[in-house]
Symmetry: C2
Subunit: 569 residues, 2 copies
């Protein structure tokens, strides 16, 4: 009870994210660009506080050494999230505070969840990227461009069938769905083409949310506009009646799709509350896709800063594994260290507490939960990378709980620091920043992806399941077995794998918290994302179009006649 009272007392004096963001003193984006040494020809303003930085500057900076790329990941999260974005932003601010020229790279938030659940991906408290209203709404239009390119392809495909179907496409075997950047469960499964001969051919279809679009993944993995076009061109969209794959290039629309993405490919530059430069660009799902911001944002940021902080979606079993096995390969990125975010509340949940019990001190549950953190530390070790544990501090955490985690890390030889960036901004992350810098300087880096690309798909899956998840075995549905065969026949087995799995557990059962052992991962289905260049491995049911809750966050949103935004978090 005491904890609850303290919390609500504290809450009264705590400002909301939007209040903090709205009272920030932003620098004009031209000043941030100057700070980075960008000349006028290499960026374009979008309003006074947002810009797009041209991807063409990469080739101009060929000779310049890259800054150190630091990945922020976390333990298996609670449904409320563990503040990974907040730590990413705060660490960037803190590094600048201790004199290190640092750039941040984050994913763009999706409008669907913004309108649905309360919560965004622009950090929180005094560690946010701003202008948060813009970033959380339409921003610079990248997601809308992706939605448009994606649905234009659907229209071209249905039009091809309508106009005589010269390619002999089997309308029952179209693997390209439509998308919207909204939470809309009614669109998950639809029938299109109804109403007679002039309205195309009736067939089953469905809408995913835009972040699940393969075009989103492609935008985030492309190294330049040519690579983007090449990847779009090879996207698999259907099969013919003879069973042959049909690609975008067969419809000859890769030029038009690339054109629709001509602005979206350039990374968006904003700033944090403390005027640290931040790229916010791209936002693929961390289950059916790789869950990281664009490689272009990361690479440009690393050229412009001595340190580049980026984050990957969900826990280290999903986001970090994919960053290290997929993103670094596609983008030729050389990571220097990993920050593993843990929260006391999530650790206690892994120790067996329910959601309602997390605000009370419970050292026993905490002790039991440490094994989840231990597993993720082992994962990063198996990639050969230096790491630091960051305890993201929440107001309900007691001193004894924090001390317990710190002592546990010390006893096991894991570098650890407390992060108070939510409450204090960069100032609250100086210890962490210092530790990250020292760790990179001191520890050896033997980074190597987990598996070889010419391993079989089954071996790649087995490697991730045993070395990252700590599982024992993998089984395949008959459908998945059949798909494995087809993937091999088509020569797509040289791609890295991208496992879609619940983020709450190391296993494929969201209820199994902590560090489950001896479990089997059940592969239900496989899908070749030929354009993105990975094989999606589905375990359990993956929802690629969320629904709205009974009381959507939108009900609280408003804007007054002077343009003041309320209710956006």
């Amino acid at each position: 009870m005491g904890d609850y009272e303290k919390m609500s007392e504290t809450s009264k004096t705590v400002k909301s994210d939007i209040e903090i963001a709205q009272s920030a003193v932003l620098k004009p984006i031209s000043k941030i660009a100057d700070q980075l040494g960008l000349d006028e020809s290499s960026w374009e303003p979008y309003g006074r506080y947002k810009a797009k930085v041209s991807v063409n500057i990469l080739s101009k900076m060929n000779g310049k050494a890259d800054g150190k790329v630091i990945l922020v990941t976390s333990i298996n999260p609670t449904p409320a999230g563990e503040g990974k974005s907040t730590v990413t932003v705060g660490l960037g601010q803190a590094l600048n505070k201790i004199g290190k020229r640092t750039v941040i790279a984050l994913r763009e938030p999706s409008l669907g969840p913004t309108m649905g659940m309360k919560g965004g991906a622009a950090g929180g408290g005094y560690a946010q990227v701003v202008p948060m209203e813009d970033i959380n709404l339409h921003f610079t239009g990248d997601f809308h461009a992706i939605t448009t390119a994606h649905n234009a392809l659907s229209a071209f495909l249905d039009n091809h069938i309508h106009q005589g179907n010269a390619l002999n496409i089997d309308a029952r075997r179209i693997v390209w769905k439509r998308v919207l950047d909204l939470n809309d469960r009614a669109l998950r499964h639809v029938i299109v083409g109804l109403g007679g001969r002039t309205n195309s051919v009736p067939r089953e279809d469905g809408f995913d949310i835009t972040v699940a679009s393969e075009i989103m993944a492609i935008l985030c993995l492309s190294e330049d506009i040519e690579d983007l076009k090449k990847r779009l061109s090879r996207m698999l969209i259907a099969y013919t009646y003879e069973g042959a794959p049909v690609f975008v290039r067969d419809l000859k629309v890769e030029g038009a799709l690339t054109l629709l993405l001509k602005d979206a490919i350039h990374p968006n530059l904003v700033q944090t509350l403390e005027n640290t430069p931040a790229f916010v660009h791209g936002g693929p799902f961390a289950n059916i896709a790789h869950g990281c911001n664009s490689v272009l944002a990361t690479k440009i940021g690393a050229k412009l800063g001595d340190y580049l902080i980026t984050e990957a979606g969900f826990g280290a079993d999903l986001g970090a594994e994919k960053f290290l096995d997929i993103t670094t390969r596609a983008g030729h990125i050389d990571p220097s260290a990993v920050v593993i975010v843990a929260t006391i509340r999530a650790l206690k949940m892994h120790g067996g507490l329910t959601k309602d019990e997390l605000k009370h001190e419970d050292l026993d549950a905490l002790a039991r939960g440490m094994e989840n953190l231990a597993c993720h530390i082992d994962t990063i070790k198996s990639f050969g990378l230096p790491y630091v544990v960051a305890i993201n501090h929440f107001i309900f955490d007691t001193d004894r709980e924090v001390a317990y985690v710190t002592d546990w890390c010390a006893a096991n030889g894991h570098p650890v620091a407390l992060s108070k960036v939510w409450e204090q901004g960069g100032e609250g992350g100086k210890e962490l920043a210092q530790l990250v810098v020292e760790t990179i300087e001191k520890e050896e880096n033997h980074f190597k992806p987990l598996y070889e690309l010419n391993d079989s798909v089954e071996d790649k899956i087995k490697a991730v399941v045993t070395k990252v998840y700590g599982g024992k075995d993998v089984d395949y549905s008959p459908k998945a077995r059949k798909q494995l065969k087809s993937i091999k026949q088509n020569g797509w087995d040289q791609f890295p794998i991208c496992i879609a799995k619940t983020q709450y557990s190391l296993s494929d059962n969201p209820k199994l918290l902590g560090r489950p052992k001896d479990f089997t991962i059940h592969v239900r289905e496989l899908k070749a994302s030929v354009g993105a260049g990975f094989i999606v491995v589905m375990t359990g049911n993956v929802l690629t179009m969320p629904g709205l809750p009974k009381q959507p966050a939108a009900l609280n949103m408003d804007i007054d006649k002077d343009g003041n935004v309320v209710g956006l978090f």
Copy 2:
């Protein structure tokens, strides 16, 4: 044959629109803003050559006198269009050339037709607004914001039904469809909500193109952000099982929808090839909606210039009538004159020639076709407005044909000028510009809408049919009769009317060219656009989601590695 040869010879030396646009010397948009006397706080850059001008400047300029608003309309067009946008842009350039401070206001083009048919709405030849690649693709994201707000409302509506349907909405009587800014016939008629209990309630639905969204019409008729919210709030979206109308305010999402449009409401500023300031903002259909750019663009432009040139969609029977009966009322706009664009080729088509015969001299057909122009002149006269006829010159027009039209106008007392703006830019429109200025100074302005708002809906329809179309009578389908009753019962009969009719004929039969007489207009259906504030009167079939042709324009589009755009017209 001679004409064809001359044409192809000429064509070789004529540059394409995109070649002309790409070789233009643009001023930075900051210079255009300076030219208009805008201070930095009243506009925001979107790239170096686009800006949004804040609607808040209107209240700051309350004391300033309005410039003269000139509407550009046309005779009934051929399927290829008569170059109304080109004349609008060219006239603006020409007025500046003769020393009149002039601003242009145009509609934004839709992506659907851009990807589908060759052609855009950014003018042509040496009378274009630029940067044309941006204007014709995502521009500043307004249409995407409208698409998002529109579909978010659909998601909220389906979610309400899914979550228990407290409002008792009859899923069979939902009048709110979804939208996409694409040509996609397969989405015209769909079934959503399939796949079981977690995927909402199965029901019939369909997608319109975004320009057909009532939110598009609302954005273009709103006087400020409060008015926008008020109109969104009263949109009719469904009926209950008891037959009671359900509005957006019943779902309590008007704040969220307004928030999604917070940037879209501000008019976009660009420039012409000759650096004349141009607002390009909003683009509602001219059949099921009113077909004009936003009243905010027109009003801000009129405050900033001594002359404001705007255009309305299709011919004077649709666009001009709606501008004068709907837009001027909603926006409190006081028009000064109307320019009626005619082309020799369209006049010959009205005189009985087929599409293939238009490039040959035919003075007899031309003489027969003049009655179409005569009808539109009578329309403008019946609104009490000064007018000028502009002959938009095409390379196939012979001197004798031009002389015929000029003489006909002179003989009948109609001010007329030849426009060569496509070929020569502003220089080719000086005669027209001079004539427009003189006409406004010389002629009396007795502007008055065609009907009173408290006339019955039937009387309003009758007034337009007899006084504008030149028809004799109106008949109503049984469905329309029933809807008339419901409109009256709900008190929506005080709205102006918005007739959806073919643009090719004054009648509702696209084949009846020239100036048909004694015809009856058949009203098939009525629809209350309560938010926009008009009653849509449907005659014939109105296609609100276009399809793609067999060879979409997209097939020719591309962008190279340096970002050069090809194939966009």
